[in-house]
């Protein structure tokens, strides 16, 4: 199953680049800041500067450009739809007509806005992809735990979230195997899983899904007993193998992101 193969590392592309070596916290914060910036951009000049910066970051990360483009594949239909919808309906209340298609009028304003919105979506996707291309899931979980730690006072369970992420990571492959096993077992008993319409197929899934969920609950129960038997008592005083530490390069990265944000959002032309 394709799921099993890609699940252990997710989208992570292991390389020894400066971007990979940054602290995961820096990368999470930088990606968040850039996401906000790309939503605030108002003109094509800003998008251009942003795109140039992003291209430089991708080059620095040594992630092959093909990987980055492949990240856009799942949404290209949506991008096309966005463009078409904006061209025909983007300019509310008139605009300069470019050409007609039956009752629909394409306007110049719509075309410009369509290109702008599409470019912004592409940049958004590439920007966030870069985070997951250069940071492994475990690093990200660690980073999130540390970033959320100050919010523990207001009830955010930072340690628990990271712990649950690690557990889920560990059990996804197990549950995939279990699903296949149960499907085969039910087919051996005469279950017909891939014919008929939507309703019939949905009905056929019940004998697969019930044992799957019941067994997941049983596994959770066993895991909880095992954790407590080994003395797990939450995040307080827990030690970790990998310590996160900010270094000089993290400061440079933060400055670069701040600089580019100002450049991108600077009003007017120069």
């Amino acid at each position: 199953m394709e799921l099993l193969r890609s699940l252990t590392l997710g989208q992570y592309v292991p390389r020894a680049s400066p971007v990979h070596r940054l602290d995961p916290r820096t990368k999470i914060l930088a990606a968040t800041a850039l996401m906000v910036v790309v939503f605030l951009v108002r003109d094509f000049r800003g998008l251009g500067v942003f795109a140039a910066f992003l291209a430089a970051a991708v080059a620095l990360s040594q992630v092959p450009a093909g990987f980055v483009l492949r990240g856009l594949r799942p949404i290209w239909i949506l991008l096309l739809l966005t463009l078409v919808l904006q061209i025909f309906f983007g300019a509310s209340g008139g605009g300069t007509p470019l050409w007609r298609l039956g009752p629909f009028v394409a306007t110049r304003e719509g075309l410009v806005q369509g290109l702008f919105v599409t470019a912004r979506l592409v940049l958004l996707v590439v920007c966030t992809s870069l985070l997951t291309f250069t940071t492994s899931p475990v690093e990200l979980a660690d980073g999130m735990e540390r970033l959320l730690r100050p919010f523990r006072r207001v009830g955010v369970p930072a340690h628990e979230l990271a712990m649950m992420m690690t557990i889920a990571l560990r059990f996804i492959p197990t549950l995939v195997e279990e699903t296949e096993k149960i499907m085969k077992a039910q087919m051996a008993r005469g279950a017909d899983l891939d014919t008929g319409g939507l309703l019939r197929r949905a009905r056929a899934l019940v004998p697969v899904l019930v044992p799957l969920f019941v067994s997941a609950f049983r596994r959770a129960e066993e895991l909880a007993v095992a954790m407590e038997a080994r003395g797990y008592r939450g995040g307080e005083g827990r030690t970790r193998m990998k310590q996160l530490r900010y270094r000089a390069q993290d400061l440079w990265a933060a400055l670069a992101v701040a600089g580019i944000s100002v450049l991108v959002l600077w009003p007017g032309r120069w």
């Binding site: 890609s6 997710g10 989208q11 992809s129 985070l131 997951t132 899931p137 129960e221 909880a224």
Partner: protein, 186 residues
């Protein structure tokens, strides 16, 4: 949170990831994915209750942010959670909480198909609301009316089928959990 809650939320998040891959693909032009994801979201709420259901789905989204291909069609990565269809995903924790609140805790011994069905149908509402709102906000669709047209209406019937499936499975799973519960106390 007790370690039992930790484990059970983590397992249900993992299970949502698995269910999202059990997809029936329809040639939908709009590109909004169509899968058993929603089924698992509703079921997580209906079997865990509102609070833990919410946590398990939040966790599911976090797995996606971390770059695992846990979403429908093996998509994953933070980009999916900011892309044009992100609104649907962000509504999942809320949807699970709604389903859980309507169903009540399985440990309480209640197992009413009527309440489960009400929860399953109500759970879809925040998914449509946030999903359509984000389609407009991200600029993918120019107007709310069109967002409903491309991002809500095509999915109503399949989602009702999934809700019905979730109710059928939830009744059986809750019955099994209630049977197992007494031995747990020991």
């Amino acid at each position: 949170m007790k370690s039992r809650d930790l484990a059970v939320c983590a397992l249900l998040a993992a299970l949502t990831a698995v269910c999202a891959q059990l997809s029936l693909t329809l040639p939908a032009l709009s590109g909004v994915p169509f899968t058993l994801q929603v089924f698992a979201v509703v079921l997580a709420g209906a079997t865990l209750g509102a609070r833990r259901g919410f946590v398990s789905q939040l966790l599911y989204l976090s797995l996606g942010v971390a770059g695992l291909p846990v979403f429908a069609q093996l998509r994953g990565g933070a980009s999916v959670l900011v892309g044009p269809t992100a609104g649907y995903l962000w509504a999942f924790p809320v949807a699970a909480a709604v389903a859980g609140a309507a169903a009540g805790l399985p440990e309480a011994g209640t197992n009413s198909p009527l309440r489960l069905a009400a929860g399953a149908v109500l759970a879809v509402v925040p998914i449509y609301l946030l999903g359509a709102a984000w389609l407009v906000a991200s600029g993918a669709v120019p107007s709310p009316a069109r967002a409903v047209q491309v991002g809500v209406l095509p999915f109503v019937i399949p989602d009702l089928v999934k809700a019905a499936l979730a109710v059928a499975v939830a009744v059986r799973v809750r019955a099994a959990l209630a049977r197992a519960a007494p031995s747990r106390k020991g």
